[in-house]
Symmetry: C2
Subunit: 221 residues, 2 copies
């Protein structure tokens, strides 16, 4: 797969089929992931795959509960604003994300595979994400949709660490959860705020020095 096709079309893909992901595919995803750089090349990381139905059944109610907590706390203002003005483009976009996240809440135990990344003693909290995103891009090349969520690590870290047997006493900390599966929908370029509107040059507020009015990569027709 072309790099730019992967970068432009790997969007959060929560709705997936229950079909299992073969082990050799998982091996290719992880081998690509561990090539990513990490702070000081420490590679203080572990990746825990979950495909056992019993464990997914234990995690599912925690995820569903965390999702509703999210709407009631962090995003409560946006939920209210979106429902007050549901035809506004921002509201439409937000309600789509909410619907998709709620789908995962209702179908968590049917998702074939989850990957939980863990970092040890990383005070920056950032070193593992290139590897996580590489895994998601490598999954895309295998036709696998994925979504990084921090709901479980945010609301229920103790419960999830206990279920997965994580030695937190050694400094291992869950950095999120990536759902993986063959998508029910299609790939596409996600609309985003244009690059020049979120880029400054040399000091905050200064123009980027370039304009990007249309995506600079498009799929071959």
């Amino acid at each position: 797969m072309d790099l730019h096709e992967a970068l432009y079309t790997t969007r959060a893909m929560r709705r997936v089929k229950p079909d299992p992901i073969p082990l050799d595919v998982q091996a290719r995803i992880m081998d690509a992931a561990v090539r990513a750089p990490s702070g000081g090349n420490q590679q203080n990381w572990r990746f825990l795959f979950v495909d056992d139905q019993g464990i997914k059944d234990q995690l599912a109610p925690l995820y569903a509960d965390a999702a509703s907590k999210l709407w009631d706390t962090f995003y409560s203002g946006q939920v209210a604003a979106a429902h007050a003005d549901p035809t506004n483009p921002e509201s439409i976009s937000f309600l789509k994300v909410q619907k998709s996240a709620n789908w995962l809440g209702e179908h968590f135990a049917e998702v074939p595979l989850f990957m939980f990344p863990f970092a040890q003693h990383d005070p920056t909290g950032s070193s593992i994400y290139p590897a996580v995103w590489s895994a998601m891009l490598a999954a895309r090349a295998e036709g696998i949709g994925s979504c990084l969520t921090v709901l479980l690590s945010f609301f229920y870290p103790d419960e999830v660490n206990k279920i997965l047997g994580v030695p937190t006493e050694d400094g291992w900390a869950m950095q999120g959860c990536v759902s993986m599966g063959y998508p029910t929908g299609t790939w596409g370029i996600a609309p985003r705020k244009p690059a020049h509107l979120v880029t400054h040059r040399n000091s905050w507020g200064s123009p980027a020095g370039f304009d990007v009015d249309e995506p600079l990569w498009t799929p071959n027709p």
Copy 2:
């Protein structure tokens, strides 16, 4: 560029030439970066490019100082261990990283371009890193080497925010600093701990279910 070539060969590349990076190349890098997913698709991000010599000259001594602080604090044990046993493979690898980071400390002001990512109100602290890593992969496709460092945001956030004019009162927080430039060295597959040694299945300590003894992708001869 092939996705796997990018994933396997985009390693931390600190040693770069002073040649400037054209604006259209920077636009392509950023347009690819903003396609990445973010939590709740919030896109609460800003990217600040620094190519002004005066600003780089202000940042350079802070970076050099932060690098020496790093060796004296966080990595002091590893520095001592590496110098005590310099022929050990782990020591060799660590001393290489230290030498490369020190190169950046000594040549910071000669690096043509830096990209500072900022997130607003992201309690998870993770939402921006897929976009940052996408920028680094897109840079790789342009023949540009990059390195994500959190030294400045870790040791001197206030000083750097002031130099860059960041409105921290609005909740904007620096998430690192990416150096960019045309490399003096060559691209290659970095040696890493094998994927199966850092992967568990269903519970911590259980085997991955696959073995990866050699990289599963290699460049065409």
